[in-house]
């Protein structure tokens, strides 16, 4: 699916990011092509979320550059970066608890790049029938699984070309997690590129084209999913 000759959808070059005095990312190169599904792996505290947040401009990198479709967006504000077709499902989900489920979805609605409107309010509710039963509920009254569906649905309302999911199934019961994996499969099949962070490596590897593994703020492995083996998992992920 990935075409290396094409300009990547999102690309990071030599990112160095700090939280105050602590140096988190040590020169990370990372890219995602159109339609590609990438697993971003690594133990806790290795810099996965920081890499995502740096690319989105939420934690601007001190050195290095970020490109969206070849355009340098390193110093752009977050809303401009995400407006170029990127949706983000953060760790902890970021539901607006003071808005109803319906409002959480509607406030995010917009056309994607090139004015495409494939994901409408109606289609999101068809994809997540459970949400349509809870439209007037406050965001905070949902179960963990419903919240994750709402965040993914909200992300889809922006008609993205790339969906970044940080901790896709963290804290969810196995049955609900399976539902989320199925939804991600549907999203992938619709042509949206995805970057997924999750601890369930088994489920991840059946889904992705490519794996990127981070250790201590550096990318130590970045290759096709087939090249991923037990030895690498053992060495870098300590499972």
């Amino acid at each position: 699916m990935s075409d290396v000759t094409k300009t990547p959808l999102l690309e990071a070059k030599g990112l160095h990011t700090y939280y105050g005095a602590s140096h988190i990312l040590h020169g990370v190169d990372f890219k995602v092509g159109a339609g590609e599904t990438v697993a971003l792996m690594g133990r806790n505290g290795m810099g996965k979320s920081t890499l995502i947040r740096s690319m989105l401009g939420l934690v601007p990198p001190r050195e290095g550059s970020v490109f969206v479709r070849g355009q340098n967006v390193t110093r752009s504000p977050t809303h401009k970066i995400t407006r170029s077709g990127i949706a983000y499902v953060p760790e902890g989900r970021g539901i607006f608890p003071n808005l109803s489920v319906k409002e959480n979805l509607l406030m995010a609605a917009r056309a994607g790049t090139g004015g495409k409107r494939e994901w409408t309010y109606e289609r999101v509710l068809e994809t997540f029938p459970r949400l349509s039963e809870r439209l007037s509920n406050g965001g905070a009254q949902l179960s963990g699984g419903e919240q994750q569906m709402l965040t993914i649905g909200r992300a889809l309302m922006t008609n993205p070309d790339l969906l970044i999911l940080d901790e896709a199934t963290e804290g969810l019961a196995p049955l609900i997690a399976r539902e989320i994996w199925n939804i991600i499969r549907t999203i992938r099949a619709s042509g949206i590129a995805t970057v997924i962070v999750d601890k369930n490596y088994g489920a991840l590897l059946t889904l992705v084209n490519r794996c990127a593994v981070m250790v201590k703020g550096q990318l130590v492995f970045d290759d096709l999913a087939e090249k991923m083996n037990d030895e690498i998992v053992q060495k870098y992920l300590g499972v």
Binding site: P77, H79, F96, L106, M107, T158
Partner: protein, 288 residues
């Protein structure tokens, strides 16, 4: 107290409360959404009143003066946000208090330079200058009813804006998680600027429409600021509907206090605040 005297005081209390709400709603919105304690908020009320006076003198038309004043204060709000307030969002309340207190002094000095230190009266617009006779010797001025009507309309407009529009959803979302709002591709800075300008315009509008009944005088912003903080604290910091309820309570308590216990009238509002805070330390409505 007979029925008509009671009715007059009731209408006065409601009118005062609604006017307070206009000023306090901006204060509580800006705190609830951007986390800013704006001590200079009362100055916007003062600026509005002086503008109404100056513009009415210039144009000879109070209605036109108010419309012009609203446009000018929205522009003022946008400029102040971009130049001063924007730098306070990520800072500690101490810095906010220091800067906005400094702004009060600047605004008062500018007021003195531009408009002088005299007290001015503003004529009630001819359209509303009549009074409704109630009994042989009691009547109620139409202008006060008009003030209440304008306040109710503005409050309704604000309700629709915040609760029923997408912009309102974004504003509320920004109050709970501004990072996520940006990650959804929404320009939060623009939203902050709009909310701030809205707050300034509301306070200034209150000052403008109150000018014909309260006159225009130096330091009038300070008095309003203190009572507005009482409104915001009673209502629950950051809650617009709490502010509405609290403003009406204060309007009525203050008005009836002055009639029933004139010797202690100055205390009545603070007694109300103490009672409410003992009962609900976070105010009537929680933030949200």
């Amino acid at each position: 107290m007979d029925f008509y005297s009671f009715l007059i005081q009731l209408l006065n209390g409601l009118q005062y409360g609604l006017l307070l709400f206009l000023v306090a709603s901006g204060l509580t919105l800006v705190f609830g959404i951007m986390g800013i304690i704006n001590l200079a908020h009362g100055s916007f009320y003062m600026i509005g009143a002086y503008m109404a006076w100056a513009l009415a003198e210039q144009t000879g038309n109070f209605g036109l003066a108010v419309l012009l004043g609203i446009v000018l204060t929205v522009i003022l709000g946008i400029l102040l946000e971009a130049v001063f307030y924007r730098h306070l969002y990520k800072r500690d309340h101490l810095y906010q208090v220091l800067m906005t207190y400094g702004l009060i002094l600047v605004f008062e000095e500018l007021r003195s330079i531009i408009w002088g230190d005299d007290v001015h009266g503003v004529a009630v617009p001819a359209l509303f200058s009549a009074s409704i006779p109630l009994t042989d010797n009691l009547s109620y001025p139409v202008y006060r009813l008009a003030i209440s009507a304008v306040c109710v309309l503005l409050a309704l407009g604000m309700y629709l804006l915040i609760q029923r529009t997408r912009l309102g959803m974004m504003i509320r979302a920004g109050a709970s998680n501004n990072e996520m709002v940006q990650a959804l591709g929404i320009n939060i800075k623009l939203i902050y600027t709009l909310v701030f300008a809205l707050g300034v315009a509301l306070a200034a509008t209150a000052g403008m429409i109150a000018a014909p009944i309260s006159s225009v005088f130096p330091n009038m912003g300070g008095q309003v600021l203190i009572i507005c903080f009482v409104v915001v604290v009673i209502g629950g910091i950051g809650s617009v509907w709490g502010a509405l309820l609290a403003a009406l309570m204060i309007g009525l308590v203050d008005t009836f206090g002055k009639v029933l216990v004139p010797d202690y009238a100055g205390l009545s509002v603070y007694v109300l605040m103490a009672v409410v805070l003992l009962w609900r330390p976070e105010g009537l409505f929680k933030r949200g």
